[in-house]
């Protein structure tokens, strides 16, 4: 199975005077899990709703293999969607909620029972959805997304509200869906939530693209070296004289501007024996926060 390529091109959406999404462009390829990250209010949901034809963009386009969602001949069989955990009638059972959608898409009821079983709602499916826990609603949303066995999945905060066992389950599930060749786009406001699941990330802030690429590419952005010696002051002087930025910390020095190799050579030249030399990567969370700026809620 090969899922559709999701393409967002120069997408802008204004609500009155507020610009929710500002000239945003990115691409989501099949076969990998792509994380769509940004703090609350960054424009993630508006972007996804524009992609799904629920919100009309002010300008720009959002397509699946070049087609707008509304033009898809069989939308539920092409794209599976889980948007928010509350879009159901509280008096209708989870199973009936899915049957209503299945009827609209010409999907048989037998498939409804299949996906309910899949997401672990086999027994709860007959109960009124108003009594579901947040985790069960998330599972019902995921069942809705899987109804048409679609090649592309667009999931808005699917992990939010799941218990640890559910989180582990959905992580494995998303990876296996991507491994089958599907396009999987998962939004989250927490990097740590999807860090172990996603292969690529698209990070937005204030409606604009902040980063697009692999997680590794994000991580290697900024680095420093943690170094220490018995003669800490002498080492700091030597490194400072060579032009490095040195910060004195409790257990040594944080040096930036030089690779570990260069620092070792400088220490040798100054005849100061080192007792610690560790290249450190700035934490992913820090990089993420740096990218999304002040509004970052983590």
């Amino acid at each position: 199975m090969t899922g559709a390529v999701i393409e967002i091109q120069s997408l802008t959406k204004r609500f009155g005077g507020t610009t929710a999404v500002d000239d945003l462009s990115f691409r989501v390829e099949p076969g990998v899990v792509t994380g769509f990250l940004g703090p609350n209010g960054a424009g993630k949901t508006t972007t996804l709703r524009s992609l799904l034809g629920l919100v009309k963009p002010t300008s720009g386009s959002a397509t699946f293999d070049g087609h707008a969602y509304a033009e898809l001949p069989d939308p539920l069989r092409t794209v599976g969607t889980a948007l928010e955990a509350s879009s159901f009638h509280p008096g209708r059972s989870g199973r009936d909620h899915l049957r209503v959608a299945a009827a609209a898409a010409g999907i048989p009821d037998s498939r409804v029972d299949e996906v309910l079983e899949w997401v672990g709602l086999g027994t709860a499916g007959g109960r009124r959805a108003g009594g579901y826990s947040l985790g069960m609603r998330q599972r019902l949303g995921l069942a809705f997304a899987l109804l048409g066995d679609p090649g592309a999945l667009v999931l808005d905060e699917p992990i939010n509200g799941l218990d640890p066992e559910g989180i582990r389950w959905i992580r494995g599930f998303l990876r296996s869906l991507a491994a089958e060749g599907r396009t999987v786009l998962v939004s989250s406001h927490l990097l740590s939530e999807v860090q172990q699941t996603v292969d690529r990330v698209v990070i937005i802030s204030h409606g604009k693209l902040a980063y697009q690429g692999t997680l590794d590419g994000l991580e290697t952005g900024i680095g420093r070296v943690h170094v220490d010696a018995a003669d800490r002051e002498g080492l700091a002087r030597a490194l400072g004289a060579a032009g490095a930025q040195v910060e004195l910390v409790a257990d040594g020095l944080h040096v930036s501007g030089f690779e570990a190799t260069a620092i070792g050579e400088l220490a040798l030249a100054a005849a100061i024996p080192l007792r610690l030399l560790v290249p450190e990567r700035e934490g992913l969370e820090d990089v993420f926060l740096g990218l999304v700026g002040e509004g970052g809620e983590l």
């Binding site: 939308p75 539920l76 948007l83 879009s87 009638h89 509280p90 008096g91 209708r92 909620h97 959608a101």
Partner: protein, 265 residues
């Protein structure tokens, strides 16, 4: 289109509000038809000939629409506004992104359930009304073709009212507001307007286009026409049907071009 209709039908049968409304409709219509059946003969006797032309059975049977039309109206309005209220427009439009197709499905399902309400109401009105008339010695006229024509036209009226409700709900997505408007208009404002309109000729000419008056014209008899005395210059039955259909079309078109097209956030 057929898929959308099936989906809309399922939406109705998988929640409880339709049979709660049907139950109240049955009780209320049955009660009114019985009262008219029981007292109608006595009133005609005492009127000293003034009301001799009045058909007690058609008066009793037409309570289906005269007091019952508010039920398919509410039903249709709830079917539309419920989608906004419970945010089910999201899954609905995800499954059927062409919004006009969804609306057409709603109209179709609304029409069908309007007929169902018509059947429920008629079972109450004709069943209980005829029984009471039989007991009080009034001919229930069940063999008359006029009676059956009235029954058929009442079914059509109920179906049209459900579609008017669907349109009204799209026009006014706020569920609480639409319930208030429906109840205030049907139970208070319209009876008042119809009575007031009957005073002058020129107001009567406008008054017959009120939805309730159009319904009475369509069905052919009603307790309200009797009270306001406007039965003489009422619309033809088919004109009444067209007026009702016109209200439905007007609401659906305006709603379909405004709230139905809005962003779903």
């Amino acid at each position: 289109m057929l898929r959308s209709l099936r989906s809309e039908m399922l939406k109705i049968t998988t929640t409880r509000s339709w049979w709660v409304l049907a139950l109240i409709l049955f009780g209320w219509v049955g009660f009114n038809a019985s009262v008219i059946g029981a007292l109608g003969g006595v009133i005609v006797d005492q009127s000293g000939g003034a009301l001799d032309a009045l058909s007690i059975p058609s008066l009793a049977y037409s309570v289906v629409t005269a007091v019952g039309y508010v039920f398919p109206l509410l039903f249709g309005a709830l079917a539309s506004t419920g989608e906004f209220r419970h945010q089910t427009l999201t899954p609905t439009f995800l499954a059927t992104p062409r919004r006009n197709v969804v609306l057409a499905g709603k109209v179709g399902a609304g029409f069908f359930w309007g007929v169902v309400y018509g059947v429920v109401g008629l079972v109450a009105a004709v069943g209980l009304g005829a029984l009471v008339m039989q007991l009080t010695g009034v001919d229930p006229e069940l063999g008359s073709s006029d009676t059956w024509a009235l029954i058929a036209r009442a079914l059509l009226a109920m179906a049209l009212w459900a579609v008017v409700g669907v349109g009204l709900g799209v026009l006014m997505p706020n569920q609480v507001a639409v319930i208030v408007v429906v109840l205030a208009f049907t139970q208070f404002l319209e009876p008042l307007l119809r009575t007031a309109a009957a005073f002058w000729e020129w107001t009567a000419a406008i008054g017959k286009f009120l939805p309730g008056a159009a319904t009475d014209a369509l069905v052919g008899s009603s307790i309200y026409s009797l009270i306001s005395g406007s039965a003489a210059d009422a619309l033809e039955w088919w004109q009444g049907g067209l007026v009702l259909g016109g209200y439905a079309a007007l609401f659906l078109i305006i709603g379909g071009l405004t709230t139905w097209r809005r962003d779903v956030t």
